[in-house]
């Protein structure tokens, strides 16, 4: 049993679904995504949480260039595979109340994108990683541009060019590493073993960083993100924010830090400062947003900023925090966008100032919304808390002994307060207060909506109360990564 099943099932499913129509396409897509989740569950049950790569596949692909179809799952990849396979069925289920034109094409693109992202999360070959990276981009471009809002054409092209530009520089870095490798392969293990000089690593770092920073996005490469999230159809926004931006974070952990640790040392301060600026800046803008979907988009930049800041400290807490926070953020942000999808579908507006008092007419909705808000702001016993705590803890270790760094850490920590401010304020303005003419018509959630929000709430609380199993999956792989890095950083 190898990871290829996991990669190719969505491709086959996409081809089948493309030929189906309306509800048949919808149910088929749901069926295949649940089957994919079941396979991922099977992998998880057989997974041994040590630092090894399991379920590996390694067959020649373009032999002349030393390119192999080489993929496998270790603890870090396992978390990402879980994230993808859990969220895709939820996202598909959440679109059940929408009638999309050409729904067969819509769901086929989602499934194809899932395959691309799974390639990214499991690839052990640089070329394969790049192909998966782009293969995930094409479907989301079409999803956004075909089913998106009014300004979709201009905004999605901007998004596409932004990300494509970043990834081309990554391609150059990958080819560079390939040419440096003694046996001319794209294998990640060969890349890890390369001994590049500090200036070389510095350039490799920059090229990779550009691709990943655009994808995450890190300030100041974020300008595509709020527009795209707002214009995309909700299913597409969820795919982007829930899973796709994690490709950037995963790329940092798997490809950037181990391949260019000296580059990291060189650029660490600058990047940490950028990440922290992103946190504060996005929080302030989120605070002023009237459009709920845009608010969530900016809050996402702030949360990812914290992940980036903790990540580039590079210690076990930071990486473990990032792993857990990726999973939590994925679940929470999907929930949050679904909440706004429900509101805008019922009431025809996402303008916070026009809403109010919905809790009175929709108690179930209110509970779900509240749990997701609390998860997002990182209240203890919700999933958001575990990740944020570990990330901020790692930041403090970074500042130990460096007085000037403490300022950065304090700003990074402000994300919790700022996040709570704008999130709770949003909740208050939407759900509490007096009912008005518009919100009085609001009907409570039912059917598939109830199911999706129910699952999300259960996940938020379960992960918050008992995060140990998840931390355990990636622990050995992360520890191994850090110890191998420490070996490389001795001059």
């Amino acid at each position: 049993m190898t990871v290829s099943i996991l990669i190719f099932l969505p491709v086959i499913a996409a081809v089948i679904v493309a030929f189906l129509k309306n509800s048949a396409a919808r149910y088929a897509a749901l069926f295949f995504s649940i089957a994919e989740l079941a396979i991922a569950g099977l992998f998880l049950s057989k997974f041994v949480p040590d630092a090894t790569t399991q379920f590996a596949i390694d067959v020649p692909w373009i032999a002349k260039f030393g390119i192999y179809f080489s993929a496998g799952i270790d603890g870090i990849s396992m978390i990402m595979v879980l994230l993808t396979t859990i969220l895709v069925p939820l996202i598909i289920l959440s679109t059940f109340s929408h009638e999309y034109k050409n729904s067969g094409a819509f769901y086929a693109l989602i499934l194809f994108m899932q395959a691309g992202m799974l390639v990214v999360f499991t690839a052990l070959d640089g070329f394969l990683f790049y192909v998966g990276w782009e293969a995930a981009l094409i479907p989301i471009y079409f999803i956004c541009a075909l089913w998106g809002g009014e300004n979709r054409i201009r905004i999605t092209l901007k998004f596409f060019i932004y990300t494509f530009a970043g990834s081309l520089f990554m391609l150059v870095a990958l080819i560079y590493l390939y040419l440096q490798s003694p046996d001319k392969t794209f294998s990640i293990h060969t890349f890890y073993a390369l001994k590049l000089t500090a200036p070389q690593q510095s350039w490799v770092f920059l090229a990779f960083f550009l691709a990943f920073a655009i994808k995450m996005p890190v300030f100041p490469f974020h300008t595509w993100q709020p527009d795209t999230y707002t214009e995309a159809p909700t299913g597409g926004t969820m795919m982007l924010s829930g899973i796709m931006l994690k490709m950037g974070i995963y790329g940092v952990i798997r490809w950037l830090i181990p391949n260019a640790p000296l580059g990291l040392v060189h650029w660490q301060t600058l990047i940490t400062i950028l990440a922290v600026i992103g946190i504060v800046y996005a929080s302030i803008i989120a605070f002023q947003q009237k459009d709920g979907k845009r608010l969530v988009a900016y809050s996402s930049i702030a949360h990812v900023g914290l992940i980036a800041a903790g990540l580039f400290v590079v210690n076990v807490q930071g990486l473990q925090g990032a792993m857990v926070q990726m999973l939590s953020h994925g679940i929470n942000v999907v929930g949050m966008f679904f909440i706004w999808d429900i509101i805008s579908r019922r009431l025809g507006t996402r303008d916070i100032s026009q809403l109010g008092g919905i809790a009175k007419v929709a108690p179930k909705f209110a509970i779900a919304f509240l749990i997701i808000v609390l998860g997002t702001v990182g209240l203890p016993l919700t999933n958001g808390f575990v990740g944020e705590f570990l990330l901020i803890d790692s930041m403090f270790q970074y500042s130990a002994g460096h007085y000037q760094n403490l300022t950065i850490v304090i700003f990074a920590g402000s994300t919790i307060i700022l996040g709570a401010v704008y999130m709770l304020r949003m909740y208050k303005n939407v759900m509490q207060g007096e009912l008005n003419e518009l919100t009085a018509k609001f009907t409570d959630i039912s059917g598939s909506e109830q199911l999706v929000l129910g699952i999300i709430c259960v996940l938020i609380i379960a992960m918050g109360v008992y995060p140990q199993p998840i931390l355990h999956i990636s622990e050995a792989a992360v520890t191994n990564l850090i110890s191998s890095l420490n070996g490389k950083l001795i001059f």
Binding site: I62, F160, L171, I175, Y178
Partner: protein, 460 residues
């Protein structure tokens, strides 16, 4: 060499068919003849490559020639399949079209298998003279006449440069033979300036033929004015052959002197990339956009010569194949849209996806491939080119190429945006069966090469 003989006899047969008004037989006879020629070409493929020069050292039909002849013949067949009903509409003398195109192809076969500078020159001239006629074959059309005249004047000029260059090389070495020239270069540590001048003039002549900046000024007008299928032929088969001839000469003779010519070509490459891409951005006509994009693709193809190495032939082959099949779809789609709407602007593609989903899909594949998006052949071509250039430490060249690849997204995606995201009142286009077959073959080839290039990348 049977291939060349067949391709020389075939047009004469076609002219007789035309004389006896057997117009229905033209296409089948041409295609069958070309397939036979293709078969004979492939039969000469040997592993390992043990071909020896023939005809007193004038020609060398090695694996390089087999591969490039094959791609030229296959592309010609695909283009001819698109011509069903096309030439009849614009002319009464259909047989001449087929015959002249095949004469041009004969020149191309010589261009990819020469082993002597005179043969290179003769090949280029056979091809060019045929093309001058083809460009102006719409006798009563103003643009077509303009195209032919421009092409002829500029072409004659560049031929002069080429010939002058060859003469200077001959003056230095005393021979036209590639083998003798190579030995001379290796034996003489101090090369006299006359030889260098010869290389420079040959570069000018060849850059004109492949449409590289600053010798590209004929391209947009000639491409726009010529009948669309002839444009397709020029920008695919002719361009590929031009690069094959370029590469053959430089890798066989001038490789040791790369310190002299590589900087010149580097400047030409960078200029070609930027001029092609930036001008393409401003075009309102799809056909003109393709003309400028073909200039920028010439820039990427020049990478293989700037970073000359053992993998260069392979890179040119893959890139040219990818570019040719994608271009065939683009030009074929253009012919259909142009017939319906009467113009070739981007707007005439608006809303195509609703009425003709298949046509829109294959055009999308073609545009993605031209833009170099992964899982299409165009990406593999760019990947090979970038790898080749980086292996020669041409970092800045690759960075410039990356910037250009990003620019090109704008104009390639304009077509996709028009087809899928803009709506327009339009009726369904009738796509003839021949077109469907050619589109399907080309789109499949694009995707298969994109996913599994291994089978095609081991020929040279």
């Amino acid at each position: 060499m049977t291939t060349l003989i067949i391709i020389c006899i075939l047009p004469i047969v076609l002219l007789y068919l035309g004389l006896y008004k057997a117009n229905k037989a033209l296409l089948p006879v041409t295609v069958i003849g070309l397939i036979a020629a293709l078969g004979f070409a492939i039969a000469e493929y040997k592993t390992p490559d043990t071909a020896v020069p023939i005809y007193h050292g004038m020609m060398l039909f090695n694996n390089f020639s087999v591969v490039f002849s094959s791609i030229a013949i296959v592309t010609t067949i695909l283009i001819l399949l698109l011509s069903g009903g096309y030439f009849e509409k614009i002319s009464n003398h259909v047989a001449e079209y087929y015959a002249i195109m095949l004469f041009s192809l004969a020149g191309i076969i010589v261009m990819v298998s020469y082993y002597n500078l005179t043969m290179m020159f003769i090949g280029i001239e056979i091809m060019s003279v045929s093309l001058y006629i083809l460009a102006g074959i719409k006798k009563s059309d103003f643009a077509s006449n303009e195209a032919a005249l421009k092409y002829f004047l500029m072409g004659a000029f560049s031929t002069g440069f080429l010939l002058f260059g060859i003469t200077l090389i001959y003056g230095s070495t005393g021979s036209f033979s590639l083998e003798v020239i190579r030995d001379w270069v290796v034996a003489h540590p101090h090369i006299d300036p006359m030889f260098y001048t010869g290389i420079g003039l040959i570069i000018v002549g060849l850059c004109f033929k492949v449409g590289a900046a600053p010798f590209h000024f004929w391209t947009p007008d000639v491409y726009e004015g010529s009948p669309t299928l002839i444009t397709a032929f020029m920008s695919t088969v002719v361009k590929t052959a031009g690069f094959a001839a370029f590469l053959r000469l430089f890798s066989a003779c001038f490789a040791p002197l790369s310190d002299f010519w590589a900087p010149i070509l580097l400047v030409i490459t960078v200029a070609t990339l930027f001029i092609g891409n930036i001008t393409a951005l401003y075009q309102q006509s799809f056909k003109r956009m393709l003309a400028f994009s073909s200039i920028s693709h010439a820039g990427y193809l020049l990478f293989a010569i700037v970073a000359l190495g053992s993998a260069s032939a392979n890179s040119v082959f893959i890139y040219a194949t990818a570019y040719s099949v994608a271009s065939i779809i683009a030009f074929g789609g253009l012919i259909l849209v142009q017939q319906q709407s009467g113009n070739d602007s981007f707007e005439s593609f608006n809303g195509l996806a609703k009425k003709n989903p298949f046509l829109a899909l294959v055009l999308t594949v073609s545009m993605l491939s031209l833009a170099g998006i992964p899982l299409t052949a165009g990406f593999i071509g760019k990947f090979f080119m970038f790898t080749g250039a980086l292996s020669r430490y041409q970092f800045w060249l690759v960075i410039i190429a990356v910037i250009n690849a990003i620019i090109s997204i704008f104009y390639y995606f304009r077509v996709i945006v028009a087809m899928y995201f803009r709506s327009a009142e339009r009726t369904e286009l009738v796509v003839p069966a021949y077109y469907k077959v050619v589109f399907a073959i080309s789109a499949l080839a694009t995707i298969i090469i994109g996913i599994y290039p291994d089978f095609i990348s081991r020929f040279i």
